[in-house]
């Protein structure tokens, strides 16, 4: 069967590109072959190349293809690679790129470098970039682009179709078209489907939808992405405070933002400050992760102080130390579980109303209590067995019975698990209420809070129950 031209999904394209650059000496053929690869694959391949190989790659790509490739690169990497092009060419590439991606790269550079590129750009583009750069990176304004087609309401469908045909190649997608008045106020959107089935002499105003969704330039980008997904919107119009159309955000943009946000939350849970990046040096990675560890070190001094205040208890009954990691480990885990469920709930918007929040908190406490009782019971027996089989310190001397310590362990597990489950769910909700990203609570903070709580519970119970 000669169906070879249909490309089934495969994963080795970047490596093919790499070996082409290394081994294909016939320049014309190399150019032809390279231009056929998707920009995503080329951008992946670039990360595997050395500088010399990248130079030879640039020579074989058209300006537009280069712009597409740079759009695909992570902005930090792109900001390094851009210097491998000569100044004028770099400016052209940035000019051709989707404005929001170009801005991301320019903002990675120091001001002088950025300026050296922007002075070489054409005036309109530079102005649009300046306008976009003014929006905070968490707003819709910072992610929008200007590739869309507009009509006026009085336009006939024939004339509109002509305009569409002329400009189709310059825009990302033509499924959604926009209707503006003479002052650029957005007054309607038009589905391409309705335009192509309409017959002359219909006017645009007869077939446009006057009721449509739009967002403001200052709206939170994450909310916008959620709306795009919820309403299956292919292109969401972005307007300013005067209802003037400023740009659009497409579903493709939204897909990328979903991915970034997800990586973000995930990274916070593990206290890694940003996305994994192949090209990064060990030193740079270490420096990125270092602040979290310093924070953890400082937080742990608090834990040490708490422990130091129980010095007498610890010195009297060394056996208590045996079960400390066990209690901390379980409490930490249940806290993280509650935290993750809560953060997911907040991001899926199920935790918006007061009623739901109260319900959720009650539930998490009950979850903690239930598991606390079950595991506390289990911990009692295991700790009892452990100390009977391998008694140490005061237990060995017969001053304290294994059952006494087992009771302390069991009660501590029960209370620590309940408290941790509660803290794990209430902290992100509180943070969200005061408009701090709840995912920040994960990692070091929740660990330390849980550690301190669990240790206080454990050693206080021990001091009381073992009457030291």
């Amino acid at each position: 069967m000669e169906k070879s031209r249909i490309k089934l999904i495969k994963r080795n394209n970047p490596k093919e590109i790499l070996s082409l650059i290394r081994h294909e000496k016939r320049l014309k053929i190399l150019t032809n072959k390279l231009m056929k690869y998707h920009e995503h694959d080329i951008s992946e391949a670039m990360k595997l190349m050395n500088e010399e190989e990248r130079h030879s790659l640039y020579n074989h790509l058209s300006l537009i293809k280069k712009a597409l490739v740079f759009e695909q690169l992570d902005e930090k990497i792109a900001a390094e690679f851009i210097f491998e092009l000569d100044k004028t060419e770099a400016a052209r590439v940035l000019e051709q790129m989707e404005p929001d991606d170009a801005i991301d790269i320019l903002q990675e550079l120091n001001e002088d470098d950025a300026l050296s590129f922007t002075v070489l750009m054409d005036d309109d583009r530079r102005e649009y970039l300046h306008k976009l750069a003014r929006y905070h990176h968490s707003t819709a304004g910072s992610e929008m682009n200007s590739y869309y087609i507009t009509f006026t309401p009085e336009m006939g469908v024939k004339e509109a179709m002509k305009k569409l045909v002329n400009y189709a190649n310059e825009v990302e997608m033509i499924d959604t078209l926009f209707v503006i008045d003479d002052q650029n106020h957005l007054i309607g959107v038009l589905d391409l489907k309705d335009l192509i089935v309409a017959k002359h002499p219909t006017k645009i105003k007869d077939i446009m939808q006057e009721k449509f969704y739009y967002v403001n330039v200052e709206d939170d980008i994450q909310e916008v992405v959620k709306d795009i997904q919820k309403y299956d919107t292919l292109a969401m119009p972005v307007v300013d405070d005067h209802q003037q159309l400023q740009g659009i955000i497409t579903m493709y943009d939204a897909l990328d933002i979903i991915e970034e946000e997800a990586s973000d939350d995930y990274a916070k849970l593990a206290a890694v400050s940003s996305e994994y990046d192949m090209g990064e040096s060990a030193f740079k990675s270490a420096r990125k992760r270092f602040p979290w560890l310093v924070l953890l070190l400082i937080l742990n001094i608090i834990v040490s102080s708490v422990l130091a205040s129980y010095e007498e208890t610890i010195a009297a009954i060394t056996a208590l130390v045996l079960f400390q990691p066990l209690i901390l480990g379980m409490a930490g885990n249940i806290g993280t579980q509650s935290l993750a469920v809560t953060v997911l709930g907040i991001s899926r918007e199920t935790l918006r109303s007061k009623m739901n929040i109260t319900k959720h908190l009650t539930k998490e406490i009950l979850v903690g209590l239930t598991n606390g009782i079950i595991l506390g019971g289990l911990a009692y027996f295991t700790a009892y067995l452990f100390l009977t089989l391998a008694p140490i310190g005061a237990v060995q001397d017969g001053i304290i019975q294994p059952s006494q310590i087992a009771l302390v362990v069991a009660l501590s597990v029960m209370s620590a698990l309940t408290i941790s489950a509660f803290l794990g769910s209430v902290i992100p909700i509180l943070l969200n209420a005061i408009k701090i990203d709840p995912a920040i609570a994960s990692g070091p903070f929740i660990t330390t809070i849980n550690d301190v709580t669990a240790l206080v519970v454990y050693f206080t119970l021990a001091t009381i129950l073992l009457s030291i």
Binding site: R11, A254, A270, L293, T318, L322, L326
Partner: protein, 459 residues
Amino acid sequence: MIAMNDQTQNEEILDIIKAHSQKDLQEQLLDYHPSDIAEVFEILNEDDRLFLIQTLNHHLLAEIFEHLDEEIAAIYFNKIEKQKVARILDVMDLDDAADILNELDDDVSQQYLDLLEEETKDALEQLSQYEEDTAGGLMTPQFIALQKGMDVKDAMKALIHNATSTEGIQRLFVIDDNGFLEGVVELKALIQARSPLSIDELMQTDVITAKVTDDDEAVARVIQNYGIYLLPVVNEKFQLQGVITMDDAADILDAETDEDYAKFANISSDEGVNDSFLKSALHRLPWLTLLLFLGLIISGIISSFEATLSQITVLVFFQPLILDMAGNTGTQSLAVTVRGLSKDYFNHKDVIYKHIFKELRVGMLNGLAIGALSLLTTTVFLTIIGSGEHEPVLIGLTVGLSAAVSLSLASVFGAFFPLFLHKINIDPAVASGPFITTLNDILGLIIYFTLAALIILNI
């Protein structure tokens, strides 16, 4: 115009439904997006839900059901008269209809299928063959097909004729007489073309295509990476079966990242917010039980260092510090590694070695820095609160060295363990957490107490 502000909108919808007006309900709800109505539906009580499904016509209901969770939708199918269900199914997007039918008992869904038009019935039966998490289960069979050799004028006619009944029209698909996919015509190219011109001239033959059996997450990633608005799906014989739209990919990616996140915290992502607390508790219990037993191993380790411990009680103060730091370093490398795996970074041996070696260096660098800091803070801390008979600086040295060594090791294990699990086909996101933590704890403790014995007690 509607500015994005769902709160007030949903309240308006709720008010309209609560009014229970037979006459106006349909008319008033038409002003809202079916997705919002579906969202409100989920918080309605039983009476209101029944009133809604009895009052609305099949067109609006079809749109609402497309946005409802399929399990809930299936329950309410059973509460609507059969003829109406059939009418709803007839106008629904086929992929959504198939999802709901899959939730029903076979004989019930067969009853509905028998009431449908032949064409819809065939299409739905076809779709139900595919597993839910494959390209086949995700695709919709509604696309615009063009015959090979057609003139662009006829292609345009086909487009106009089918535009409103098709979800995505960004691309049109060229097939031969046997349904084999020949190529793709971009809508942009078609509207710019002038007759006479055969679409064969216009079509691209280099088309990225999914097979019906491809994994849905892999497909979603392809759509994201290549920015494909409509991805064609073919069967084993390369006959075109359907297309996957970009919004489906968005939903899959969303669910997938939630899943990764949840796995990392050892919860199950399908743990619903509406699950009872008992169900949630039991969901999370296995991991905690596992941790309890892994914790006992640690107890055993500490117990074997009793002699050291009973002589230097202050060691206990810094035990959480070392374990936390090592644990966190391990988790950091674990996270970047698992993330890299899910994005297919590690597809080459060299890349893997490079990664593990890099993580080792990251661990050593941070180990040295944190070790020095720990030495300093511990010594100061003990000088202030008093450290009994032992020199604060010796204990500080023990803590510092232990932190340095255990951080380096934790970093390597965090990178190595998930790669190893992946190699032996165990999902690294699920299994890594507790094991890596325990492993790091054990190593950290052994290093700490051994160094203490050597440095402080001179054994």
